[in-house]
Symmetry: C2
């Protein structure tokens, strides 16, 4: 998997001022640059599988990736990751294994950074450590909201939450071009594909959104917010 397409490139040239590496100095970024390599994935390809060893900290530099848990018969998508963000495996501080899987939703490139280099920099640069802890904390808070949505809301509320997530956190625009399938939408909302389709249809009939092919536009944000909030 790893040696299908590697080429050199420098972290300094990457959009790293808003990334987790924002507090690293040029020499520190060079340490990462020299120890990393870049890999290209086609849409649909699996980047890593849960349970496998995790020798790299993976940073997405282009495209779109889903991280998901393979559960009992179906997947739960924890979230989508876009550039420049990372696919943190909490396993690198525990048992050096992945605890979720990752796959390319769109064609993408990823940088693989040696975990030991990453951990050494965490120890050496408190600003970097703080930034890392901050991002892990943000992720934990997001997970709390997600688990409440998934366990306590009915299907319309869950779909509404996922649409807000996609619109606000991933595509950052409205209307937006969905590049994910109905199955992925269902796996994000913890329901069957058929149920997801039916809820989207309802939303369309109520004038909450339009949906032509991949093109999704939220027409009535207030109403969608209301659907989300009533649970």
């Amino acid at each position: 998997m790893v040696n299908k397409n590697t080429f050199a490139s420098n972290c300094v040239d990457c959009n790293c001022k808003s990334s987790i590496f924002k507090h690293l100095s040029h020499p520190e970024l060079d340490i990462i640059s020299n120890s990393k390599f870049q890999v290209v994935y086609k849409a649909g390809e699996i980047i890593f599988k849960q349970g496998t060893p995790s020798p790299y900290f993976v940073c997405i530099t282009s495209g779109l990736v889903k991280i998901y848990i393979e559960g009992y018969g179906k997947n739960l998508i924890l979230g989508l990751v876009k550039p420049v963000d990372y696919i943190f495996g909490p396993g690198i501080y525990v048992d050096n294994r992945h605890h979720y899987s990752a796959a390319a939703v769109e064609d993408c490139t990823a940088c693989l950074i040696d975990v030991n280099v990453f951990k050494r920099l965490i120890r050496e640069n408190p600003d970097f450590a703080d930034e890392f802890i901050k991002r892990v904390s943000l992720q934990a808070i997001f997970n709390f909201e997600q688990v409440i949505s998934l366990t306590q809301k009915q299907m319309p509320g869950r779909i509404a939450d996922v649409l807000f997530y996609l619109s606000e956190k991933i595509y950052c625009q409205n209307p937006f071009e969905l590049s994910i399938t109905r199955q992925d939408l269902a796996d994000l909302s913890g329901m069957s594909k058929e149920s997801a389709i039916r809820i989207l249809k309802e939303f369309k009939e109520e004038g909450v959104l339009t949906l032509h092919g991949n093109h999704l536009e939220i027409l009535n944000i207030k109403q969608l917010r209301h659907i989300s909030e009533k649970g």
Copy 2:
């Protein structure tokens, strides 16, 4: 809430060699000792509510605490915390607010440590930072297992998972004395109180466990494991 019962005591005397503070030196522990104070809570009392400011890192030194999210009409208990462990609020690295609530399940004592002192030590002692990140990572991995159980397993599987959690992680023995109510058991498993009662009854009838008052004993671990694994 905070000044109902405070008294001095030293972290070095506390069982800190297996706690998050295991890598701190005596002088560092003294810094914490000097900035902290201890509070006593009676069973049922709320320690903090989600949404409130979070100026303290809270460490449980005796008793049993539940951390829970107040969702849409009902609570989801994220887990129980016993001595010596902490009620980490991911908010201290984000917005200085609690993102879940905490309440005493049994009478308990807690140490409140100034967040700024805590964060300063994280910056100054890389071993402490590593230990902290390690524990946060472990928590994240546990949360993944929990969310899969809650969203993809049916009620018997969810109750089985909660019983394993209580037996292995909290009470660390079998049989054990349950000090939680059926409502809390239901809130741990993401179901109604009535459903939790019915599943427990089923388990009893199938000879999986006995249940006299508070005293719960798992009789057939193999069968319970099987129930958990089939989802």
